[in-house]
């Protein structure tokens, strides 16, 4: 296998002392940046890019790959611990990660998330090596009609995410869409809802809204509930006695979601624009629809955390495919990398892999080693991070608020965005209190503009004909996937009813038993 040879040589070539140190430093710096609310991988890369200009291209790439994974994992840490996603791709990690932390399972959640990232990174690196040419041709067939369909795929997941309260969920999404229309209308250059402010020209950013709705909204809600009067901690008491490391059941439950998430993430991740976000949402959706215990999702299901985590990590490997094989940046982070390529005197384009093979394979290898290093660093760091859960809420609350304020300010140096963030915090409090879905709002905010833009582009291209969606191969394939996704949840309730009585009995027993007993009941059920 030639490709494995290339990958292996790539790995060997960068395994120098200097590069390993850069990897370690990069992962740590990335994690520190990513842990600050508001600063995700693309911000991390942008902030640290100038530092790497002093290094040689290989060293710079090694460092950036490490920063990238570190920052991404940093975002997971905040999603789990303080319910604040660092970028749109980690929104799905809050759904089950944060409930787990509240139950005192922050340790297992963070460890399994790191393992999921590592597994996804490994699969991603292998898939890049094996499937790059094939995937590249798929990526090159993504025009506006296909991107529109990918956005719709992402929006379909909202049905699962909003859960029982469909009406308020739909209203939440509509508020998100409404916020998304602020800014310059890409179709005609007209300003919408900017009230003449230059700060709003580029629209309302995801970051202040997400930090406000999730992070600040949660703090306000806990405060309102009297969290500051609790004697011991933010998180429930019984939990802290439980183990730090994942249990056997955790590991078994994670295996399937991790693998499915990795493959799903890699292929969806090749779509430019919304790849990682849509991939993580689709993975959550998939795990919930095929799970035997869908009612546990949103209340701390391991599968609901590791699936999206793996998908979002594999998506970043997927985004490397168009970058390396076509020279096309598929995400905000790869766009920053392209800027770096130019600075290092490399010409991004379809010939990059041919003309600079050692560089391209070095990049793939560094991504892989970045994952390895992340896992190693985290074995030491997770206990520190997880100990945040032991700080009493009355002390933690002001610090979280402060970090949210400073983090939001840092992104664009805009005090208006801090104001937006706080306003969203108040909105988030009310949304939580009255059963709205903040997740639906931010997802609509992220996908809305892309959906509108690509639909309008498609209509311009086709001259207003919807037939264009049936004329292009990739778009027909996407339409078929959509059909399957709509049909599966319609059929599963029947299957579910079939086994419902038996499962009910099992889950009641599960709640009463301890971990070991859980394992044996699990075995029972798999043999059904």
């Amino acid at each position: 296998m030639d490709v494995f040879n290339d990958l292996g040589q790539g790995i060997l070539a960068i395994l120098t002392v200097q590069n390993v140190l850069l990897l370690g430093a990069g992962v740590l710096m990335g994690m520190v940046v990513g842990v600050m609310p508001g600063l995700g991988p693309s911000a991390g890369l942008a902030i640290l890019l100038p530092i790497t200009f002093t290094l040689d291209p290989t060293g710079a790439v090694v460092m950036l790959a490490a920063v990238y994974y570190g920052a991404m994992y940093g975002g997971t840490i905040t999603s789990v611990l303080i319910n604040t996603p660092g970028e749109s791709a980690t929104v799905a990690s809050t759904f089950d990660g944060y409930p787990m932390a509240k139950q005192g399972r922050a340790g297992p959640a963070l460890v399994m998330a790191a393992v999921a990232s590592f597994v996804a990174g490994t699969i991603g690196a292998i898939l890049i090596s094996v499937a790059a040419p094939l995937t590249a041709s798929v990526a090159a067939s993504f025009g506006p009609p296909e991107l529109f369909l990918v956005v719709i795929l992402g929006l379909l997941t909202l049905i699962v995410i909003v859960g029982k309260n469909r009406l308020l969920g739909a209203l939440s999404a509509l508020i998100g869409f409404a916020l998304a229309t602020v800014g310059i209308d890409i179709g005609g250059g007209e300003q919408r809802y900017t009230f003449g402010s230059t700060e709003l020209i580029n629209g309302i950013d995801f970051i202040p809204v997400a930090i406000g709705l999730f992070g600040v909204g949660e703090v306000l809600h806990t405060l309102w509930r009297g969290g500051h009067l609790e004697k011991i901690g933010y998180f429930s008491v019984s939990a802290r006695k439980r183990g730090f490391w994942p249990t056997k059941a955790d590991r078994r439950e994670s295996r399937g979601p991790m693998l499915r998430g990795s493959f799903l993430g890699f292929f969806v991740g090749t779509a430019p624009g919304a790849g990682a976000t849509v991939a993580s949402l689709m993975s959550y959706n998939l795990e919930k629809s095929i799970s035997r215990k869908p009612e546990r999702f949103g209340k701390g299901a391991m599968a609901g955390l590791v699936g999206p985590e793996a998908a979002n990590n594999a998506a970043s490997a997927g985004a490397m495919v168009p970058l390396l094989t076509l020279g096309i940046p598929g995400s905000a982070s790869t766009a920053v990398l392209i800027g770096g390529f130019l600075m290092w005197g490399l010409q991004p384009g379809p010939l990059l892999m041919e003309q600079n093979p050692e560089f391209a394979w070095g990049l793939i290898a560094s991504m892989y080693l970045g994952n390895v290093m992340l896992l190693l660093v985290n074995i030491f760091c997770i206990p520190v991070f997880a100990s945040v859960a032991r700080v009493p809420f009355r002390v933690l609350a002001p610090i979280i608020l402060l970090v949210c304020i400073v983090g939001t300010f840092t992104v664009n140096g805009s005090i208006i965005e801090v104001g937006i963030m706080l306003a969203c915090g108040v909105l988030g409090f009310f949304m939580r209190r009255y059963g709205f879905s903040p997740a639906a709002l931010v997802i609509a905010l992220v996908l809305g503009p892309l959906g509108e833009e690509t639909l309008r582009q498609t209509m311009l291209i086709s001259g207003g004909e919807f037939g264009i969606f049936l004329e292009r191969g990739t778009s027909v394939a996407l339409l078929s996937i959509m059909l399957v996704l709509v049909l599966v949840p319609l059929l599963t309730p029947r299957l579910r009813r079939f086994t419902a009585s038996r499962l009910d009995a099992l889950s009641r027993r599960r709640q009463e038993r301890r971990d070991e007993a859980e394992a044996s009941s699990e075995r029972d059920r798999t043999s059904v």
């Binding site: 520190v32 940046v33 600050m36 902030i47 409930p99 139950q103 029982k164 309260n165 009406l167 308020l168 739909a170 209203l171 509509l174 508020i175 869409f177 409404a178 229309t181 209308d185 179709g187 005609g188 007209e190 919408r192 809802y193 306000l220 405060l223 309102w224 509930r225 009297g226 969290g227 500051h228 609790e230 429930s236 019984s238 209340k299 701390g300 009355r394 002390v395 609350a397 002001p398 610090i399 608020l401 402060l402 304020i405 400073v406 300010f409 840092t410 140096g413 005090i415 801090v418 706080l422 108040v426 409090f429 009310f430 209190r433 009255y434 059963g435 509108e452 309008r456 209509m459 207003g464």
Partner: protein, 169 residues
């Protein structure tokens, strides 16, 4: 939740009413933008109009439902279970409002006073409100956290935080 504590019967209705007004303004503005462009393409007002009308309809419906007898105020059982372990400590709108007010104040003085001073004042105020009876810890935290965050963002990441009345370091 409707199962304990004091309920404020008008809370949900009031929130929906405010939302209704905001959405009405949004929709009104959407109708000032063109539905279609001169060339017959989707115009700038196309999506805002659809979003506005749908959102108005849902909000109006939810508003009516919230006024019906038997309607619940506050969150329903959805959010209940994850918090089942936490003790019920009543409702505390006052500390929450004070914290929101203080945070808003930080936004106003963030640039003139600088990040460190504004943050330290905010932390001190909130800590003395929430974490009573531990003055030493509160003072130490109020000073140490802003300085640490400043060092991290400004010195390490060169993030451009306002120095304000203190000299930069």
């Amino acid at each position: 939740m409707g199962r304990r504590g004091l309920r404020r019967p008008t809370g949900r209705t009031l929130f929906l009413a405010v939302l209704l007004v905001v959405l009405a303004v949004y929709t009104q503005m959407a109708f000032d933008m063109e539905w279609r462009t001169v060339a017959g393409r989707i115009g700038a007002g196309f999506f805002p109009r659809i979003i506005g009308i749908l959102a108005l309809a849902i909000t109006a419906y939810a508003l009516v439902v919230s006024l019906l007898p038997g309607a619940v105020d506050g969150e329903d059982e959805l959010g209940g279970e994850e918090e089942a372990g936490a003790a019920d400590l009543g409702r505390h709108p006052l500390p929450m409002l004070v914290v929101i007010g203080l945070a808003a104040l930080v936004v106003i003085v963030f640039i003139p006073l600088g990040m460190i001073v504004a943050s330290a004042l905010f932390l001190a105020a909130v800590l003395f409100l929430l974490n009573r009876g531990r003055p030493v810890m509160n003072v130490v935290l109020s000073l140490a956290v802003p300085v640490a965050v400043y060092l991290l963002f400004q010195t390490l990441l060169n993030a451009g935080l306002p120095g304000g009345i203190l000299p930069r370091f």
